[in-house]
């Protein structure tokens, strides 16, 4: 009940958290635009630059998958049992013919990697955006309207969070039959809750800030307060959270495919390529079958995680020292 108690006098004169912050507050505020500042900070961070490069390369690789197929002359599902497998049926390793080796059916790992990248990126980006839209809407509505609306939405969020999601996901996929849209739907369904909670908390905190009170005292409507006063303050957590959701969605999809419940073979995805490798522990003799898709998967998730961290530091430097927090 912040209404009832007036604030303690003179907080500004008071020593802030640390003397270093006090000193910085006292130092002149420099004139800088917020976006250009963000980009300047990003440019100074080698990890962000590196991760953006990796992401762009993988995107180009995915888009250029047909070119890769044309260049090698191998289709993504084409089997080359003569050249791709040894006489005893063991896949051949990296060679001039198969740059990254062949798999257990004599298919070109490089070509499959390129087509698999399409699936990973598509699922990762689409699922994250969809989940963050749901999360933001639920969070904003719950936080802004409060009361029974908040209670109901928060309970639903808690409920989804209390579900052993991988168990339910495999049950669902097994019954309905695996497919790309279903994979995305399942990932979205279990991913929006975190952001919804974060946004709800932020909105509740913002709602009691004085600038919202100021807008209200000026006669601003609820819609105006929501869109002009509250949403702009949520941009940073939304961008950062969505970016960080992409790698978990990618891993989620790969996990489903790895369990045989994601993308239906023979369509390549990094997850089912890894499943092929794990099948009968084939990867123990054909290491490239796990190193290539596994390495690509790791590189992509790592790049998105680093980018998310870099974005957070650049957009919200005050919080960057505090890490991710709760």
């Amino acid at each position: 009940m912040s209404l009832s108690t007036s604030k303690p006098p003179a907080p500004r004169l008071a020593t802030p958290k640390t003397a270093a912050i006090a000193a910085r507050n006292a130092a002149d505020v420099q004139l800088r635009g917020s976006w250009s500042l963000t980009f300047a900070r990003l440019r100074r961070d080698p990890a962000s630059i590196g991760s953006i490069t990796v992401i762009l390369l993988i995107v180009a690789f995915a888009l250029g998958a047909p070119l890769v197929a044309a260049w090698t002359g191998h289709g993504p599902t084409e089997q080359f049992r003569d050249t791709g497998l040894s006489p005893s049926g063991i896949p051949v390793g990296p060679s001039a013919e198969f740059l990254l080796g062949a798999d257990q059916l004599g298919r070109d790992v490089l070509v499959r990697l390129a087509y698999g990248a399409q699936v990973s990126l598509l699922v990762g980006v689409v699922a994250s955006i969809a989940a963050s839209v749901i999360g933001v809407v639920v969070g904003v509505v719950a936080g802004f309207f409060g009361g029974p609306v908040d209670t109901v939405l928060s309970r639903i969020t808690d409920l989804v969070m209390s579900v052993p999601f991988l168990l339910c996901a495999i049950a669902l996929v097994a019954v309905l039959g695996p497919s790309l849209p279903l994979s995305i739907a399942v990932i979205v369904f279990f991913s929006w809750t975190g952001l919804a909670r974060v946004i709800r908390g932020q909105v509740m905190a913002l709602r009691h800030r004085e600038f919202v009170e100021a807008a209200r005292s000026l006669g601003a409507s609820r819609t105006s307060i929501m869109f002009r006063d509250i949403l702009p303050n949520l941009v940073v957590p939304i961008i950062v959270y969505t970016t960080l959701m992409i790698p978990s969605a990618i891993v989620f999809e790969a996990t489903l495919s790895f369990l045989g419940l994601g993308i239906v073979p023979p369509t390549p995805s990094w997850g089912n390529m890894l499943a092929d490798a794990a099948n009968g522990s084939l990867y123990l003799i054909a290491w490239w079958m796990v190193v290539v898709p596994g390495g690509a998967l790791l590189a992509l998730t790592l790049a998105f995680n680093l980018l998310g961290d870099g974005l957070r530091d650049a957009l919200d430097p005050a919080a960057s020292k505090g890490g991710k927090g709760a």
Partner: protein, 630 residues
């Protein structure tokens, strides 16, 4: 005898934006048994200085020497420094709630300190802790030993902090703004306790404060700091009653408690320099009314025969700049010339918040009040007395449980949607926190333009022109239209808030602690601006504050609140001269007294050039200072 001798202390703090030169070449000596005060506004480096002396500022680069009982604290190793902290030097911080660990009992925390330095049994330590709690007058100390900090009131918590600081009988106690977070009546008690404990334990106290009034009450000697440098040092009576440095004089002129009500304050123009690139000469030169061309060089240290030391080129007494001229007042605005004299009437207002358990919490209880057109009505009270809630109820932002609020003849609770919106043009609020009341993600132009947008009054170029005119009116640079709030200082932000509030030419402006978050010299600027706007625009003010001296300075009538009720309401003068209620008397007694200005009677003894000028101080010819110019 000198207990603490600081010489040429420099503290630099590297940050993302560059190195902050927080303390630059400060020297002072604290004698055994005295009460030494350090005064300065935010950014003066006073807190950073004492904390870096104690080695509490991470990443700080220090040079110079800090001699404490024959050891240089800056050169001590970690372990040696650790045994000085708490054992030989006790510290008390500003906010006793956040300075005590929330998850441990207060007794545990005191015992912990005792046992960190002394090999002593748990029982003995506990017995000593209880005794300490008794000595700082915590009632029922043995039982309260097991209570958590959140179960104490603010003043009681600060008593616990004092008990903890005293627990090992330290030679020196450093108190960093120990009363700033407390209500004024509690402030006085804590100051008295601190003084009493100092005598009882034979300790020396160094106290930091931004508040001249507080230090005037207790300090034997004071040092005035500004922008990381020391300006003036001496016996507190000498420094405060006849300041030798223009900055000290300026601070006193801009303090509300120190000026006749009705006379304008004389603010110090401008704002402090950036500590990232402080000027090479005198740090105060840019704002100094007595500045000379030589002030761009490092000023010398002048020592007078009364012990006062001043770092300034000025040889005479600081001048007395004229008070700003105020425009003539216009008649209070009213849309209806026949309207009665009162703009707001509050009748038997009651507000209670339902609790989950137990009876509803009554925040406002049977309040009847009238705000007259064109006046400034002050609302004073301590934290939690309901003054802010009352302001919000008058603004129509919270609905009362019972009773009515009538604005210009319209009862607020009966207003329709459209009428409510049009009321919003006539009543405006300026909030306390200049950081929280402006949306950090929006540009200043759009913040000040908000009232026009919301009420559909001007758009595009027209709105821009209106906004820039307003910025000009409140003393902001209209070219800063596209900046974000974070690019302005606290005082400038408060001007933004004021510009937004007066944009639609309201009749009533509710000022909710509009200056309490600002430094004294900035406070004066904002108070004068408010005065000027009231005169030119014919505004009515409802002025809420915890600070009686500010309220007295600006208000025509004052209402004193306690526990959700208005206990006394009278003309400002009469209330001040002849308070009726015991609480009002207590409040008045706790307020800072006026510091009498006496002419200086001092002779210059010695002038020392700054160190860079030569290896040894150059002595300039002595010169007597004639009496005051005033």
């Amino acid at each position: 005898m000198a207990l603490l001798e600081v010489s040429n202390l420099v503290v630099d703090i590297p940050t993302e934006d560059g190195t902050v030169h927080a303390v630059q070449d400060v020297s002072f000596t604290v004698h055994e048994g005295e009460f030494f005060g350090i005064v300065g506004e935010s950014g003066s480096g006073k807190s950073v200085m004492v904390q870096s002396i104690m080695g509490l500022v991470a990443g700080a680069r220090t040079s110079g020497t800090v001699d404490f009982r024959g050891r240089n604290l800056l050169a001590l190793g970690d372990e040696a420094m650790r045994s000085v902290r708490g054992r030989e030097i006790g510290m008390i911080f500003q906010d006793p709630l956040s300075s005590l660990h929330p998850q441990y009992t207060v007794g545990w925390q005191i015992v912990e300190q005792i046992r960190a330095h002394e090999k002593i049994s748990q029982q003995a330590a506990k017995a000593r802790a209880i005794e300490l709690l008794e000595r700082v007058r915590i009632p029922d100390a043995a039982a309260r030993f097991d209570a958590y900090p959140h179960q104490f009131s603010g003043g009681m918590r600060q008593r616990v902090m004092i008990a903890m600081a005293l627990s090992l009988g330290p030679a020196l106690i450093i108190a960093d703004e120990p009363t700033t977070a407390l209500d004024s009546t509690v402030q006085a008690q804590i100051l008295d306790l601190l003084d009493e404990m100092r005598r009882e334990f034979g300790a020396t106290v160094v106290m930091i404060s931004h508040d001249l009034g507080v230090l005037a009450r207790v300090a034997d000697r004071v040092m005035v700091m500004y922008a990381g440098r020391r300006m003036e040092l001496g016996e507190s009576a000498n420094v405060l009653c006849s300041p030798a440095h223009p900055y000290t004089a300026g601070l006193l002129r801009s303090s509300a408690f120190n000026r006749e009500p009705g006379t304008p304050l004389v603010p110090i123009a401008g704002r402090p320099p950036s500590l990232l690139a402080p000027p090479s000469g005198c740090a105060f030169a840019a704002r100094c009314p007595d500045a000379m061309s030589i002030c761009s060089e490092r000023p010398p240290l002048r020592r007078y025969d009364d012990g006062t030391e001043v770092v300034c080129w000025l040889e005479g007494e600081p001048g007395e700049p004229p008070a700003p001229e105020l425009p003539p007042a216009v008649e209070a605005r009213s849309d209806d010339p026949a309207a009665d004299a009162s703009i707001v009437r509050v009748e038997s207002l009651r507000l209670a918040f339902p609790q989950r358990r137990g009876p509803a919490r009554v925040v406002l209880d049977d309040i009847t009040l009238e705000v007259r057109r064109g006046e400034t009505l002050g609302l004073v009270g301590e934290s939690g007395c309901g003054k802010t809630t009352l302001a919000r109820a008058i603004a129509g932002l919270v609905a009362p449980t019972a009773g009515t609020v009538t604005f210009d003849g319209h009862e607020l609770s009966t207003l329709g949607r459209r009428e409510w919106r049009s009321l919003r043009r006539r009543v405006q609020v300026v909030f306390q926190d200049p950081f929280g009341s402006l949306n950090p993600r929006r540009r200043v132009g759009s913040i000040i333009g908000d009232p026009f947008r919301i009420h559909g009054l001007a758009s595009g170029q027209g709105r821009r022109a209106e906004v820039q005119e307003l910025m000009e009116l409140v003393g902001l640079n209209p070219e800063h239209y596209n900046r974000f709030p974070s690019q302005f200082s606290g005082g400038q932000r408060q001007r933004i808030g004021i510009a937004r509030a007066i944009a639609l030419k309201p009749e009533l402006v509710i000022l909710d602690e509009p200056v309490s978050a600002l430094d004294v010299s900035i406070q004066a600027q904002v108070l004068n601006l408010l005065d000027e706007l009231q005169r030119t625009l014919g505004l009515t003010y409802l002025f809420i504050s915890h600070d009686l001296s500010v309220v007295r300075h600006v208000c025509d009538r004052i209402a004193v609140m306690e526990g959700g009720r208005i206990i006394e309401l009278d003309d400002a003068d009469r209330l001040y001269r002849d308070p009726q209620q015991p609480f009002t008397k207590r409040l008045l007694a706790a307020a800072a007294p006026e510091i009498p200005r006496t002419p200086a009677r001092r002779r210059l003894v010695r002038t020392a050039r700054p160190r860079e000028a030569g290896p040894a101080p150059v002595l300039l010819p002595e010169r007597a200072i004639e009496g005051a110019r005033r």
